[in-house]
Symmetry: C2
Subunit: 110 residues, 2 copies
Amino acid sequence: MSPNSFLGEFEQMVLLGILQEGDEAFALEVRREIERSADRTVSRGAFYTTLDRLERKGYVVWSEAESDDPRRTGPLRRFEVTPEGLLALRVSRRAFDALSRGLDEVLSEA
Amino acid sequence: MSPNSFLGEFEQMVLLGILQEGDEAFALEVRREIERSADRTVSRGAFYTTLDRLERKGYVVWSEAESDDPRRTGPLRRFEVTPEGLLALRVSRRAFDALSRGLDEVLSEA
DNA sequence: CACTGTATGTACACAATGTAGACACGCGTT
DNA sequence: AACGCGTGTCTACATTGTGTACATACAGTG
């Protein structure tokens, strides 16, 4: 029934990161958010590649933004999750929630 | 800090499925559990491949079991999540929980 | 003005994970 | 013996994850 095309692990994180940043979802801010939350490093290459794939799937869109920092140049991409992206995220979460039901104790660290 | 080697989406599901089945985590039971919870089909090939990879990583172990059904033959694998597997699962979840913080409303379906 | 450092973003290659299809095997039933 | 059913294996290929090297632009410094 479901599209059988699940979001990858990292794709979900990127989507969540964008949502976290709200209106201020500049690419590298999102990246930093993920690094903070997941306690790991994320290379720019990996990050932009994933962003582009999500865009191709129609799960995110972006627009140029200007910045107050005069040193910034180029596009400065600001991202937004589309309704389709949100839906995909929800579908994934629902599956996880169902599979995690009753396992809270096991899954929470000692 | 973290191993930077995240569990894949499907790998997590398999781990969760095994935990759900508890002592009765026979391969195809687990598979059915995932199909139920995630509302999608899972081919045997895909499933066993993932199981083998999890085993190579030391995240699951299995033992043969006999069955009450005389028609059943061959190994009949019963799985178990190792402490390492459980840890990996927790690490992944922690990252997701952190990234999802405050997004409950957005993520719950209408 | 060239030279260096910082901040974005892009291109590309390769590794890891996800997925299906075809194959093997053994037991009951016919 | 031929067939169907329930398990499990092998293998090829698609998708996703990840790093490295590169390009561009501005500010500050000499």
